[in-house]
Amino acid sequence: MKSLESIIENHPFFKDLEPRFLELVTGCASNVRFEAGSFIFRQNEEANQFYLIRQGKVALEVCPPNRDPVIVQTVSDGEILGWAWMVPPYNCHFDAQALELTRAIQLDGQCLRKKCEEDHSLGYQVLSRLLPIIGKNMEATQLQLTDIYGNRS
């Protein structure tokens, strides 16, 4: 059976992380699984966790008032779920629902934030991995907003 540390080390998000940082991150981690249909977090809840998806698929849903929920993104193997744990006021912006059996590493956001504040080198490592993902998500959102599949015949 793989150790938690080796699972984290092999996840693309923490690829090539120095061993001293890996140890710090592992101290905040636990193994979790979510059955299909279960909610991992809900919109407006406190964002105290983030997840390294090992296997499975999770839908991020917006729940507009008086309308059915809309899935705006899915994340799957090798990706991460959640970044609101890093940005005040630390609230979830979406519902996250497992679409299939999903195995993940759960990282305690408060624990990791504290370690990042104590060791800015770790903070830089985490942020420099998180920022490109946030950037890509923003770019993808902009593309979705432009309705790119519009009018080709």
Binding site: K57, D68, I71, T74, K136, A140, I148, Y149, S153
Partner: protein, 279 residues
């Protein structure tokens, strides 16, 4: 273009043998020649000019050949007056057809290579003949990945064929939509997010992309980030094609005419113009 050898501007008469409702706004027409000449050979990616009598003419890519009859298939999105008139055609009706015109997808260049096909919306239709050509000689190619993005699940084309492509031919078929309700259990996100989820060797891969230009732009960017060379990326362009033989100039794109020099281009050949605003 044998049937047009005498005059490429004169439409031939074709009969609608079958109509298929593909999605809420897209349909396919199966067509057979009403004249003595056989249905012309076409390359994957080529297009015909379809003429709805009394309404007008539009360029429509060939989306395949019917399995039993060999009739031509065109898959069309109903977005304007001519496509609306084509949408109204029933079995037995007649339309005018000129073609086939333009360049084809580089199937030969794909041999011994991995192939990544990226389609957006109705863009899967012009790529389907290329997919059929790859499947016909499946053992000549390495990994084949088809990445397909649409706005909503109801916009997906040819879904019944996906399982055959996956199961019988070992193709990696990944589908994503821009947004969905809870009934949808597949991927949600832009089509470029699928690129890291399929297996291919970027140094030995040919990519073919068809979709709106903004989608192609970001797909090219993502393929380059994955390590692919620009010279192995092929795209298909669309402009206001009228004559289809490079006379009228309506579809001029820099030094090229989309109808004659395209619609399929090697990306590195048109890159400077592809990135020019308002061209």
């Amino acid at each position: 273009m044998d049937n047009n050898a005498q005059d490429p501007m004169v439409p031939q008469l074709y009969e609608v043998t079958r109509t298929i409702r593909e999605t809420h706004d897209s349909f396919s027409l199966h067509l057979k020649s009403k004249g003595d000449s056989d249905i012309p050979e076409f390359g994957p990616g080529q297009f015909n000019m379809l003429y709805a009598f009394g309404v007008g003419e539009v360029p429509i890519s060939i989306s395949g050949r019917a399995e039993k009859s060999g009739n031509l298939i065109h898959t069309i999105r109903n977005v304007g007056s001519v496509t609306s008139a084509l949408n109204d055609l029933k079995k037995g009706h007649t339309l005018g057809l000129r073609g086939p015109f333009g360049t084809s997808w580089p199937i030969e260049a794909c041999k011994k290579q991995d192939v990544v096909i990226i389609a957006g919306g109705i863009g899967l239709a012009p790529l389907r003949p290329a997919i059929y050509a790859l499947l016909k000689q499946r053992d000549q190619f390495g990994e084949i990945a088809i990445l397909y993005g649409v706005r909503q699940p109801k916009d997906l084309l040819f879904t019944k064929e996906f399982e055959t492509w996956r199961g019988k031919y070992g193709i990696q078929v990944k589908v994503t939509v821009d947004s969905a309700d809870r009934e949808w259990k597949g991927n949600v996100g832009v089509v470029t997010t699928l690129i890291p989820r399929v297996s291919f060797d970027p140094t030995h891969t040919v990519a073919m992309i068809c979709g709106p230009e903004i989608m192609m732009k970001f797909s090219i960017l993502a393929l380059k980030q994955s390590g692919m060379s620009e010279k192995n990326i092929f795209i298909t362009m669309e402009r206001n094609m009228k004559c289809a033989v490079g006379f009228c100039g309506h579809c001029q794109f820099g030094p090229a005419f989309i109808c004659k020099d395209g619609p399929v281009f090697a990306y590195n050949k048109i890159k400077p113009f592809f990135e020019t605003r308002d061209l």
